[in-house]
């Protein structure tokens, strides 16, 4: 919970509410880890109170700004590497820390540990704690071993079997260290994580950022600024991009990838229940008598419906856009007491008359403004929803009808799907990711009258899940039919009561239960981390690494180091995000400024398996989605290709896109089918653009501003140089490469160009015109003259470039 804060942007966030492990509960560790023991503390000093959190600061707030404490502080050097990598990395951190921390179930024990990710000095303290436990004896045996094996009273019961790797590590540790500790052994490898990695030049980084966030190439002014001031110029540029419309299109697309909110069943207006919104089909009777004849009116009505539905689908994502554009706390996605409506959707809600003066253009279907709905009433006007304020108790996305309809419920699901999504979307916890195995689930199900409240194996999760499910009870949209109200028979008695992490929902808060949930979630430290992960996913096209699980894996330590490097970055950015009033732009700014985003290449080959494992996920190297690829094509060629994203295109799903409904995960690696689409795209885009570009005056051309079709290779040095300069320009424009005319890749492209012309000549005779399909004005004559085959050779060059990784990937 957030326990304090200040108007200077500093706050103290200590841990989430502790979960009480039950004695002897087997299999609980995993679930506890997933849902409860996110014991990372922001550790930011509260300057007002002078109080510091339970951990040393990771980011020190001073009057001069932030002073990040390095992940590789020299104060760690000298720690026993066996302890650090084996005892702590494989056992202590993964197993003991979950309860044995200052806020955990074992906080009162003598064995209290600290997380070390942000505070490496804690490693030595933990080592001392382990040494004390190792030395303590009971009947001639180390208490450490007796405890973990459950042979001595231990709140967590048996957590390590005696034949497990973890137990063997502790055995070795106690053997080494029980009695008189040995001197510290080998030092840890503190070689910087990014050692040997070359970062992008500022110019290439600029291109990456403008294409990714702004769907455009850098302007000359931006390039000049970066040329002059390097990376320092980027912050301002990023800030400007985040004011452009293209950024918000990307933002909405990205959050739909995460929330999948556009994917609810049925037509869009059915998110509004028949019971409460009698005007939801207003477009069917809207007066269009002034619009031409019957056919014209029919077309107009189709358009009206289409735009209304799109506006309705987009509403929740517009809320995100509104919050970010106005730099409002992103916690409002959980707490906003308003929704975004347009002239069209407000008609569906029946509030247009009250709002029409606030719209700049009442005929603009996509002009969104914030608005509050009155509390829900039946079609006959009877009050339906208790609300002391008279308003619908909006709670950001949580209470939008689109979100509720996207994740409906059933009589047996009882809102648990919504809870799963709530945890995943807003706290970054996948409660279904690693389900704990039980010995006989069927037997447990049948042995207890109410297993979810009585069977230990079930209770461990359901005591967390079911109270949150209860908070959604007044939005019981059964079977997705869109009737948002309490269940007729009353809420289930065979579930834990409504609340959150042991805090019961007070009766007087029942009418605003989702607001109550949203407020608490906004204060949960995991919220900020989850949002950083969402933006990470947006920028990288993949989720951050998960901690390695298999301690028997010889590469475990290397994988752990890679995970920790990312996790450290994420937590630092999360704390900055929280401190800067949860402004989501901070995360974008920080992440594009992160080394992880700027990695270019290896300077020297990595040889050892450990180093290769550390580097395994490094580098953006992400295949563009269909939408991203279309935007890049538009940015480079100045016009849309469209075949990847058109409404009637089959390519979108084939190329790894999603429909937010049945296809919800993007494909990250190209299959042969996608390879075929890449070839189609390269052929077709080159076909549409090369002759067309040459037909323009040189100063208006994008592709060939410095060359004419009559410049031939192999005639003289000047001609070849001109051609190579044209290639350098194409490499820059299409691939983002910074080549010189002498570069090997330029030479390769030159040889392609020259080779095509040579081959054409060797044919004896060829058509002196560009092909019919690829002429400047498709389906119109005359065809573009191409007496030397150079236009077609340049088309071959562009086709070749469009098939390369530098173009198809970020």
């Amino acid at each position: 919970m957030v326990e304090g804060g200040s108007d200077r942007g500093t706050l103290v966030i200590v841990d989430v509410t502790a979960h009480k492990c039950e004695n002897k509960m087997k299999h609980l560790w995993l679930a506890v880890a997933l849902m409860m023991t996110v014991v990372f503390y922001y550790g930011i000093e509260d300057k007002q109170s002078g109080h510091s959190t339970t951990r040393s600061p990771i980011v020190r707030v001073t009057d001069d700004g932030l002073q990040p404490v390095s992940y590789h502080e020299p104060d760690c050097i000298g720690i026993d590497s066996f302890f650090a990598e084996e005892v702590w990395g494989k056992v202590g951190e993964r197993t003991c820390l979950k309860c044995h921390n200052a806020k955990g179930d074992a906080a009162e024990s003598e064995f209290v540990l600290q997380a070390t990710l942000q505070d490496r000095t804690a490693l030595e303290k933990n080592r001392q704690a382990f040494l004390r436990m190792a030395k303590a004896q009971e009947n001639g045996q180390s208490r450490l071993l007796l405890k973990v094996s459950g042979k001595l009273e231990h709140g967590g019961g048996e957590v390590l079997e005696t034949n497990s790797t973890g137990y063997k590590i502790l055995s070795r540790f106690t053997g080494q260290n029980a009695g008189t500790p040995k001197p510290l052994s080998a030092e840890l490898d503190f070689r910087p994580f990014f050692d040997g990695i070359q970062m992008l030049t500022p110019r290439r980084l600029l291109r990456r950022i403008t294409l990714s966030l702004g769907a455009r190439l850098p302007t000359a002014v931006e390039q000049a600024a970066v040329q002059k001031n390097g990376l320092e110029a980027l912050n301002q540029i990023v800030d400007r991009i985040m004011q452009e419309d293209a950024f918000y299109e990307r933002l909405q697309e990205a959050f739909n990838d995460i929330l999948l909110i556009r994917g609810y069943d049925g037509v869009a207006e059915n998110a509004l229940s028949y019971e409460h919104f009698k005007y939801r089909n207003w477009y069917q009777k809207h007066d269009l008598s002034l619009i031409g004849n019957e056919d014209a009116q029919r077309e107009a009505r189709y358009k009206l419906a289409r735009e209304y539905r799109e506006a309705m689908l987009r509403e929740p994502l517009e809320l995100i856009k509104y919050i970010v554009r106005n730099e409002r706390p992103f916690t409002e996605i959980l707490t906003a007491d308003y929704i975004m409506v347009t002239p069209y959707t407000s008609r569906g809600y029946g509030i247009y008359e009250n709002l029409k003066d606030k719209f700049k253009d009442p005929d603009d279907p996509f002009e969104y403004i914030p608005a509050r709905l009155p509390s829900l009433k039946h079609r006959d006007g009877r009050s339906h929803q208790e609300s002391p304020t008279g308003f619908y108790p909006h709670a950001g996305l949580l209470s939008t009808f689109q979100y509720l309809k996207r994740y409906p419920t059933t009589e047996t699901n009882r809102n648990r799907l919504r809870v799963r999504m709530y945890f995943e979307h807003f706290l970054g916890v996948d409660i279904m990711a690693l389900a704990p195995r039980v010995n006989d689930a069927a037997k447990i199900t049948s042995e207890y009258e109410i297993p979810t409240m009585e069977a230990t194996d079930c209770v461990v999760c359901h005591k967390v899940i079911d109270p949150v499910a209860g908070l959604f009870q007044d939005y019981y949209a059964l079977d997705g039919k869109g009737v948002y109200g309490p269940r007729k028979e009353g809420w289930y008695q065979d579930m834990f009561g409504s609340g959150l992490y042991g805090e019961d929902l007070p009766d007087e808060q029942r009418w605003r239960s989702l607001q109550w949930l949203g407020e608490r979630t906004a204060h949960d430290p995991r919220f900020a981390v989850a949002m950083v992960k969402h933006v990470w996913y947006t920028l990288y096209g993949r989720k951050p690494l998960l901690p390695p699980e298999d301690i028997d894996d010889p590469l475990f330590s290397a994988k752990r180091r890679a995970y920790q490097a990312q996790r450290n970055e994420i937590e630092q950015i999360a704390s900055r995000f929280a401190r800067e009033s949860f402004n989501l732009k901070v995360i974008f700014r920080e992440l594009v400024g992160s080394k992880f985003y700027q990695v270019e290449r290896l300077n020297v080959s990595a040889k050892t398996p450990n180093r290769l494992a550390e580097l395994d996920d490094l580098g953006l190297i992400h295949m563009l989605s269909p939408e991203q690829l279309e935007r890049k094509l538009t940015a480079i060629f100045g016009k849309q290709w469209g075949l990847l994203t058109n409404r009637d295109s089959n390519f979108k799903i084939l190329y790894g896109g999603i429909d937010s409904k049945t296809v919800t995960r993007r494909i990250a690696d190209p299959s042969g089918a996608m390879g075929a689409i890449q070839r189609i795209m390269a052929n077709d885009v080159a076909c549409r653009n090369v002759a067309a570009d040459f037909s323009l005056p040189a100063n208006e051309r994008r592709l060939f501003p410095m060359i004419e079709p009559d410049v031939l290779p192999g005639l003289d040095a000047e001609s070849d140089h001109k051609i190579k300069e044209a290639i350098v320009h194409l490499h820059d424009l299409i691939l983002g490469r910074e080549d010189s005319v002498n570069d090997q890749e330029v030479q390769r492209t030159f040889e392609l160009f020259a080779g095509i012309i040579s081959d054409a000549r060797s044919q004896g005779e060829f058509d002196p015109r560009e092909s019919y399909a690829c002429q400047t004005l498709r389906e119109k004559t005359p065809r573009d003259p191409d007496p030397e085959y150079t236009i077609r050779a340049w088309r071959g060059v562009v086709t070749y470039l469009l098939r390369q990784l530098d173009f198809l990937y970020e």
């Binding site: 990711a433 689930a441 069927a442 020297v604 190297i621 299959s671 089918a673 075929a676 071959g796």
Partner: protein
């Protein structure tokens, strides 16, 4: 690309064919091949009854203890060694159990009493698909076999839904429409034309050669592991995509009607063309928490009709004896009805297999009269309530890997299943 042109250009470009990943494609070019040869089987198809089927209305009939309302114990039918629930009188479409078992018993291996271990859709789907409950990294069996047997085929692993993780071993392909295949088959043709090309063939050859030369040059540079993988996969995807032109003759003029037939058509055309190793087929809505019997009586016949459609069409294409078919769901349904006449999640279920190399007309394992699992002896496969093992998805997957001959493949070794000593199912396939 014409082979002669390619070789001439490769030689001119001085290609060394020495890249670590993707090298097989370069090597193939060196061996005078311009594309990988067709994959000739066996082909693997996994049918997923998504949502959790009621096995007591199919291959594990009960008819006692109010487990089934539509029939009693005495109504249970038998075909060969397989007992099954009657449903011909209840269904209005699809294939009845009677017809299905009458037709396929001799090919069917039924396993009853599978312990899903948990009863939530997400982990169960993952567990059934991969054989591993507690990892998000493992590939599905369909992806694994595709990677082991034919990762250089352009649509090695086709999926139409359900859990489809690949373990980064092979790209997955989604092909929702048959018409898409036609367009992909002629990527160099203007608007998919097989006759009119964007460029002359010598231009296409030059482009391919330049890409190949670039690929060879990349290999000698220090590269991040991720970049190395991406370069290889991209090159392979584009190179292998040319084999899609083999699919054109096998694209049926019309697509089968219904959820499964449309998937089957795409899978079979891809198998026949030798561009695919495995396909993950799926139909949903089995999660019958309300009105269990009504829903299951619609869905089970639809599922069986889909299997039948596959078998018939495969016969027509002479592929039947190369198919291995797995029919599964991620969970079972409770032995009791809830207040909404539905059945909830049950962590015990069944799985069926048929196809090349599988001895049919057999039932292994069992559940008791209350639909609890009965352990079996892994060596004799006989029921052994006292000393037997609870067969879980990892046992089935280990057996599948062995059956497919990939249990020692490095990809399989990368994702071990850790079956305890003595629990390996012996002679499972007959």
């Amino acid at each position: 690309m014409k082979r002669r042109n390619l070789l001439k250009l490769c030689t001119a470009a001085g290609l060394g064919f020495a890249s670590p990943v993707g090298e097989r494609y370069l090597v193939k070019a060196e061996e005078n091949r311009t594309e990988s040869p067709p994959y000739e089987g066996p082909y693997y198809i996994v049918f997923n009854a998504s949502g959790g089927w009621d096995t007591t209305y199919l291959m594990d009939p009960k008819g006692v203890n109010n487990i089934n309302r539509l029939y009693q114990q005495g109504d249970i039918l038998t075909q060969g060694n397989i007992r099954f629930a009657p449903n011909a009188k209840q269904i209005t479409a699809g294939l009845s159990n009677e017809d299905f078992f009458s037709k396929y018993t001799n090919e069917l291996l039924v396993f009853n009493g599978l312990d899903y271990s948990v009863n939530n859709h997400s982990p169960c789907s993952r567990y059934m698909a991969t054989g591993k409950l507690d990892s998000l990294e493992y590939p599905t069996f369909a992806a694994l076999i595709a990677a082991c047997n034919g990762s250089d085929t352009p649509l090695a692993f086709l999926t139409f839904g359900q859990y489809s993780a690949t373990g980064n071993l092979v790209p997955l392909s989604r092909v929702p429409y048959l018409s898409s295949l036609k367009r992909l088959a002629n990527a160099d043709g203007v608007d998919g034309s097989p006759h009119t090309f964007y460029s002359d063939d010598f231009v296409r050859d030059r482009i391919e050669t330049a890409l190949m030369a670039q690929r060879a040059a990349q290999v000698s540079e220090p590269r991040l592991p991720r970049l190395q993988r991406a370069q290889s996969m991209l090159y392979a995807a584009q190179f292998n995509s040319k084999a899609l032109n083999r699919i054109t003759p096998y694209i049926p003029k019309s697509q089968g009607k219904g959820r499964l037939p449309s998937q089957v058509d795409i899978a079979l055309a891809s198998f026949k063309a030798g561009v695919c190793v495995s396909a993950n087929l799926s139909i949903g809505q089995f999660d019958s928490h309300a009105n269990n019997d009504v829903d299951q009586m619609k869905l089970i016949p639809e599922l069986l009709a889909g299997v039948d459609y596959l078998a018939r069409k495969a016969e027509e294409l002479n592929l039947r004896d190369k198919l291995v078919i797995v029919i599964q769901s991620e969970m079972g349904r409770t032995p009791t009805y809830n207040k909404g006449n539905g059945k909830d999640h049950w962590s015990v279920g069944s799985i069926m297999f048929m196809g090349a190399g599988i001895k049919g007309n057999r039932v292994i394992g069992a559940t008791d009269d209350k639909q609890f699992l009965v352990p079996i002896n892994p060596k004799s496969l006989a029921i052994d309530q006292q000393q037997g093992v609870r067969v879980r998805p990892e046992h089935i997957h280990a057996a599948l890997r062995e059956f497919a001959g990939i249990s020692k493949h490095s990809f399989s070794m990368k994702f071990p299943l850790d079956i305890p000593a003595g629990e390996r199912l012996e002679k499972f396939w007959g």
